[in-house]
């Protein structure tokens, strides 16, 4: 592949991820609205929101680290998207793989954590402490799932994982071969999105929206962009591991929207857990299901 071609891919992959992510945010709001018997926002509302936030006159900064935190939060996701293969584009997926991607996805969280820390607001710091605790909770079932997937396909190379599933047809999909791991993975994915009942670190009624408490204007806009990427990444990673990736863009989009719709539909009918209950919950069910799935895969 020529350098020029690769460069185009590296530019296109995050861009596509962002646009798809915008529509996922729209979908999330529509699902919430329908469950609450409202109409929901119009098609371009997420885009309007971002433009509005970036253009606000009041942009309160608590210092350079506050700014850099937002840059890292968005930039980390922009970089991570190039490691996630999509139909027709592999980017640098073959130079990283499943483990690198998992750890790259921690960079935006680290950036956000640094930025919030600089704000010197205890609500924000408590929010980050809870977010990191949640990460410790859901990453344990997630790595069990990742190990099982890597073991089953015999590789951590995402491009190969996709091509193995596509050659074997639907019967060779991760979800068909490893149903228990697929369930545990969906569980962990839901927790990783931080939506109810796992919404411990935003908790508006308790810690004043946690990490977002001192975020105004384009700082909040940056977090909005980050959320678009986060939803897209969760859906695409799950589709890559369990649903055969994308044969073409149509099937790929159907899959990733379906994956993200599941936790969203659950989220809007649940209240929030306490932090310690979240840990107990996530360490019990998805871990048990995941371990059982791992045993099935390995023996």
């Amino acid at each position: 592949m020529s350098i020029g071609h690769l460069f185009v891919e590296l530019v296109l992959m995050p861009l596509v991820a962002f646009v798809v992510g915008l529509f996922m945010v729209l979908m999330m709001r529509k699902i919430g609205a329908r469950i609450q018997r409202r109409v929901g926002p119009p098609l371009l509302q997420p885009l309007y929101d971002i433009v509005k936030l970036y253009g606000k006159r009041t942009q309160v900064s608590h210092g350079l680290i506050h700014d850099i935190g937002i840059v890292m939060a968005v930039g980390g996701y922009v970089a991570a998207e190039t490691l996630l293969p999509v139909p027709g584009m592999n980017g640098i997926a073959e130079k990283g793989g499943l483990i690198v991607l998992t750890y790259m996805l921690m960079i935006p969280s680290l950036g956000l954590a640094l930025g919030v820390g600089q704000c010197a607001n205890p609500n924000g710091s408590i929010g980050i402490a809870r977010a990191l605790t949640a990460m410790l909770a859901y990453d344990i079932p997630l790595v069990i799932v990742i190990f099982g997937v890597a073991y089953h396909f015999g590789t951590t190379n995402l491009v190969d994982i996709v091509s193995i599933q596509q050659q074997g047809g639907v019967g060779a999909w991760g979800a068909a071969e490893m149903p228990l791991l697929a369930i545990a993975g969906l569980f962990a994915l839901h927790a990783s999105l931080g939506k109810q009942p796992f919404e411990i670190y935003v908790a508006p009624a308790e810690i004043a929206t946690g990490p977002m408490v001192e975020m105004s204007g384009k700082f909040l806009g940056g977090l909005f962009v980050m959320q678009c990427f986060q939803l897209y990444t969760a859906g695409a990673l799950y589709a890559t591991m369990f649903l055969g990736g994308g044969e073409n863009w149509l099937s790929f989009l159907v899959k990733i929207f379906a994956v993200v719709a599941i936790p969203m539909s659950i989220a809007y009918v649940f209240p929030r857990y306490k932090t310690e209950d979240l840990i107990a919950m996530v360490w019990k069910w998805p871990v048990l299901i995941g371990l059982a799935g791992l045993v099935l895969v390995m023996y």
């Binding site: 210092g63 968005v74 483990i99 960079i107 204007g217 384009k218 791992l294």
Partner: protein
């Protein structure tokens, strides 16, 4: 005189010079220069294969010899590099402050130089007897450095030397066993005799040597001495000890258990036939060494203690990689020695820079220092990203190698254990940087200045090393591959950016390049938005209240409250219980022996002892 002789000689000269005139104002710079010379000599020795020392002699028919191979070189370069930067850190303003507090610079410099020299002696041992001599030298050298501060430090050091003597006894017993079975203490003779050894004897050797070296490494359950002993050592000493001292235990395990006894033989030793072998046992000890100390670190409220506990935990990754034993795993374990040393050194230096300026490392009495000490903040940030093992720093690469080898070797639970350790590290180091540098700047720290250049330059040098070896890990993997070859392990197939593999490789050059391109896009997006207005830290949301300078508005204590409500009870008693159990086992054994030779059979025991002593002397 071989190149290795010159190295040892310069190292000894450094020690003598520091002993004679270490208290002189310029001696810190002289020490740094001499370590620089040693580093230069080491560079000259790179890749020469085996370099024997001229000095060899024999005692009671045993030849004592020293030689320098690629494995020794790898550890030596980290040792001397750490000493060089520690001496540089200590040379300028820090030494004035240390002298004013009543510390003896002569003792500090001499102890540091003696540590380096004794480690070089240990790293170049050519047979089991010289290994033991080197081991004892290193133990007492560390003890010297640890006691310098007196008070709490002396107590911690006493605890260390008690553990170390116990470990040395175990080693001595192992060496005697080897001698009685093989009749020689030469490495080559031992290697050729191992296939003929019985399982019982081998088990005894694995346990004795494992425990002996494990004490120094802080392997579970011998880890309880380490955190306090390292944390209480004066700044540069703590950075040096934290970076490399415990790794001498890993070197011992690499030489005796991996190189001499062999991993393949360890796999045949069954604890539970067919399921758990001696190698598995070591791997699980390593995994527990990762998890328990890391989560102990999470609960520390003193920055130095937090780092020291992490030092114990990170040792587990190295041992785990080494005993997994395939090309990727052992490369990951060895690479982590280097990577961890750079991370830990820079973190200790940053913490001691904060202590130098504010006088405390209590994580509940700091905060907001990033605006006053930005360079120290950068140093700590680079250090924590490396220690937590996230890209783009070097700690990620070595941990990635360990993860990958555990995947390839199909060890899901050990893999999970390493990830649990990494997650705990991320939580803990965020607390460290948040409580020290982020959040509210306290009133009393309003006029704190950045650390002096003599302290920031070593930190920034380490930051560059951490970043460059994270982006181009091939630089260090070259040394690691040579060390693997010297140990007789499978050699890693490395590229400049990492590892090439059909089943999922790693190319950090691309990953880091794309990451920074991503940051560029993020910055473009951010700075194209509206103009920001910088506000004072007290211009902050407080639920309608007005904040004043005397309001404590920094969340630091009980940082992971929700997590601790869940896992807090698991901590209770577990560590106390562990040490008490260890002590009572030793006590029971001692009482048994005591009873045997004092009360029951005084004459017989005395006769037996005399017989064995004379017999051993005559026979050897």
């Amino acid at each position: 005189m071989t190149g290795f002789d010159q190295l040892l000689a310069v190292s000894a000269v450094t020690f003598i010079l520091m002993l004679a005139s270490g208290g002189w104002r310029l001696s810190g710079w002289i020490a740094a220069a001499l370590y620089g010379v040693q580093l230069g000599l080491l560079v000259g020795l790179a890749g020469v294969g085996v370099e024997p020392a001229t000095l060899q002699f024999s005692v009671l028919g045993h030849g004592l010899s020293w030689k320098f191979d690629s494995l020794s070189w790898f550890f030596a370069v980290i040792t001397v590099g750490a000493a060089f930067l520690a001496a540089l850190y200590a040379a300028g303003e820090w030494s004035e402050a240390y002298r004013k507090q009543g510390g003896s610079l002569r003792q500090l410099h001499a102890a540091l130089a003696f540590n380096v020299w004794s480690m070089l002696v240990l790293l170049s041992s050519g047979d089991l007897l010289s290994l033991f001599i080197g081991w004892e030298l290193v133990s007492w050298a560390s003890y010297w450095l640890m006691t310098l501060s007196g008070g709490l430090a002396a107590r911690a050091a006493l605890r260390y030397i008690t553990y170390a003597m116990g470990g040395a006894m175990a080693l001595l017993a192992g060496i005697v066993l080897v001698h009685s079975a093989v009749g020689s203490l030469e490495f080559a003779a031992v290697v050729s005799a191992v296939p003929g050894m019985g399982n019982g004897l081998l088990w005894a050797l694995v346990l004795l040597f494992g425990a002996g070296f494990g004490v120094k490494m802080g392997l579970l359950p011998f880890h309880l001495w380490q955190a306090a002993a390292y944390a209480e050592t004066p700044g540069p000493g703590a950075a040096f000890l934290g970076a490399i001292s415990s790794r001498m235990g890993l070197y011992g395990i690499a030489v005796v258990l991996v190189q001499l006894l062999g991993l393949a033989r360890g796999l045949e030793l069954d604890l539970v036939p067919g399921y758990v072998s001696a190698t598995d046992l070591l791997a699980w000890v390593a995994a527990l060494t990762i998890i328990l100390p890391t989560y102990t670190a999470l609960r520390q409220n003193d920055a130095r203690m937090l780092l020291a506990w992490h030092g114990i935990g990170q040792g587990g990754y190295m041992l785990l990689g080494l005993v997994v034993g395939d090309a990727l795993g052992s490369a990951g374990g060895l690479l982590h020695v280097f990577n961890y040393a750079t991370n830990q050194a820079v973190l200790f230096m940053a913490v001691f820079a904060v202590i130098h300026r504010t006088g405390t490392s209590d994580l509940n009495k700091l905060g907001g220092l990033v605006v006053r000490m930005p360079l120290s903040f950068v140093a700590m940030l680079v250090g924590i990203i490396g220690l937590a093992g996230l890209p783009p720093m070097n700690g990620f690469v070595s941990k990635w190698l360990v993860y990958r080898s555990l995947m390839i070797e199909e060890m899901p639970l050990l893999f999970l254990a390493t990830i649990i350790g990494t997650l705990g590290t991320i939580l803990s180091v965020y607390k460290l940087i948040h409580n020290t540098f982020l959040g509210q700047l306290r009133l009393e720290h309003e006029h704190v200045a950045e650390a002096p250049w003599s302290m920031t330059i070593p930190m920034l040098v380490l930051c560059v090393v951490i970043f460059v070896t994270g982006t181009v890990p091939g630089l260090v993997l070259e040394w690691v591959a040579q060390a693997q070859a010297a140990m007789g392990l499978p050699v890693i197939d490395y590229t400049p950016g990492g590892v090439a593999s059909d089943s999922g490789g790693l190319d950090m050059i691309w990953v880091v390049g794309v990451l920074f391109a991503g940051f560029g896009v993020g910055a473009l997006l951010f700075y194209s938005g509206g103009r920001t207005r910088r506000v004072h830290q007290l211009d902050n949301y407080a639920g309608g209240h007005f904040l004043t300078a005397d309001t404590r508005y920094h969340y630091s204590d009980n940082f992971y409250a929700g997590l601790m409500r869940r896992i807090g009870p698991w901590y209770r008693y577990s560590f106390r219980w562990l040490e008490e159990a260890l002590v009572s086992v030793v006590e029971t054994l001692a009482m048994g022996m005591h009873g045997l030779y004092r009360q029951r059979q005084p004459a017989l025991a005395l006769l037996g002892l005399a017989f064995f002593t004379i017999g051993w002397a005559v026979w050897s």
